[in-house]
Symmetry: none
Subunit: 189 residues, 4 copies
DNA sequence: AATGAATGAGGCTTCATTCAT
DNA sequence: AATGAATGAAGCCTCATTCAT
């Protein structure tokens, strides 16, 4: 709390005018950061729709053509999701560090909001992947598992990269993750 | 320490006859559990070699046949690695919980041994995947990234499943992870 | 710490707002008390110079006369030093008790400042005695040994008296010490 | 206790077959060492009588001659006392260190025996000095104060020398102490 | 008699939280 | 609204002592 107050340029006691406890700060931090990640993903996805659908509006007349559009859309969405995560990890390394450092202090009453925030991200991604499965672009795998696998891959690679173990350029790492996941999940006719 | 002593059915001071500090306990725990996981993986991999190669020793007489053997071997190795992890996660949920709970307390002098233990697992897997890439079974992707992605997928899915969020039967989850990773990483001719 | 806090009428944790550790308290106590003793001695010595030299400024006309002045000055200085110590012992019995009680806990990093403080007193006295030897008032004995002997005498007598073993009035004890040391150290023509 | 047992080449528990508590060990140690010092002093004093009186037995026929003998006897006794102390300090530095290190742990019930042992030494010396005063060799000073002063001088100089602060050769230090005390205490006709 | 593993009271220190100003 | 000195529960660790073998 001392450090938080110092970094915030206020006195220790002042913190308690805005937060009831240290736990609450952590919850607020988690909620804020996860909300940012969610917004980041959502914005990138919207851009995807706005910018990549128009380029392929023709849609012509057949199912296969429609399929191609869908495929591109899903593929781009996944790419954007991955990019958003890598962007987030790059800009919020401190948050990841704090999160891991304080995970042990997440008490019962914090679990709910924290999990909820994380779940929102998961839901957002799951939505995209579910659509991908539904429209036949992705193989018929349980979408939640698909999401978890994607998140796990991203996290592991991004974390390793953030920790500095891996020297692979971030873009290349992101590309590898994308290729791996896309190739693994896409349904080949 | 209080809790550890109580759970161990001994007095607090007794712990210090076997460990010099709380840190040392955590390091010992990490090393022990990671060693078990490593042994588990290694044993399964050995079984793979012993039991699955013999069934296909004859191959026939051509390079493609050799490739098929290799492909099967790598595929089975990956499957075993995943199985080993799921087995481990099922049997050591408490360890995962403790690890996450105490990650924040990993001090400087603990990092080295802890990372070292984890790195051993990573190396073991990387060895398998490197061979897979080298012999042309897997796509030419940076093996470490491949390993991290695999570990990340496994961890995310297994953790979600261990936490009880996901109701998918473990075998099915393992199979999904395998299919996803294998399809994503295998080189198609 | 418990006892210190209780005697100070504060909570245990409050102590750590003013001292970083128990050791630091002991060091601070030692430094403070030794500084007081040093100031006490110095003040008395200054008074000696101011008040006793003027009374004998005339110095008449011969070397012996000068010697007499010197002799009186040195003698008075020694007397003042002894008086200062007895005054200090009387007013700081608790310090002596604490010092002896905690001597065993003086760790490596405390030795330096503690010895330093004590050495300052020793130096101060040695300065006076060295001058006494130099100007021929005292016998040519190693001044440090002279100082140690004087301090030892004072301490032993004052301690015995403080502990209540000895019923001799303090003034008389101080006088005895003075006579003993002076007679023993003065150079007789 | 661990260290004591190790140095004694026995197990920790065995100590309690011979001592009821750690305190008791300290008391026993103090009593033993002080007894040795006492014996050392007593033996040297006896030698003094045996070896230095005979050399001056002739005395002659007058009181002054008798005085001279007495004077020599007292002087030699004092010298022997000092020598005994320096010998003791040289051979028992560890005891001095332990004594100071553990002084703080001397509880109420230890004070009595410890003080008693120390008092015996003081009494022994006081006996010699009392005789010295009684027969007119020493100035009429309170013998206990005389003893304390002598002990204090010895201790301070010997301690400083044992700690290694002072580089004066022990014999010279002993001689200085003797000269200082003797000159200070002897009665000049 | 001897052992040494086990004990647990007590010691020092940290830090989230409170409250008088 | 803001402060920061004060709090005290809780944490880690030590060590004199005990007791089953």
């Amino acid at each position: 709390m001392e450090a938080i107050a110092r970094l915030a340029g206020i006195a220790k006691g002042t913190i308690y005018l805005y937060f009831r406890s240290k736990e609450e700060i952590l919850v607020a931090l988690i909620e804020d950061r996860f909300a940012r990640l969610r917004t980041l993903i959502r914005n990138k996805l919207l851009l995807t729709s706005d910018s990549s659908q128009p380029p392929f509006p023709s849609a012509s007349d057949q199912a296969p053509a429609f399929d191609l559009d869908k495929k591109i859309e899903v593929r781009e969405s996944i790419r954007r999701i991955i990019d958003a995560h890598f962007t987030f990890y790059r800009e919020h390394q401190e948050f990841i560090a704090i999160l891991y450092g304080q995970l042990g202090k997440i008490a019962r009453n914090m679990e709910a909001p924290a999990k909820c925030s994380a779940e929102e991200i998961t839901q957002l991604i799951t939505g995209v992947l579910t659509k991908g499965v539904a429209c036949g672009v992705l193989r018929p795998v349980d979408p939640r598992t698909l999401t978890l696998a994607l998140q796990g891959m991203i996290h592991a690679v991004a974390f390793d990269w953030a920790v500095g173990q891996n020297n692979l350029p971030p873009d290349e790492a992101a590309e590898s993750v994308f290729q791996l996941f896309w190739t693994g999940a896409v349904r080949v006719p």
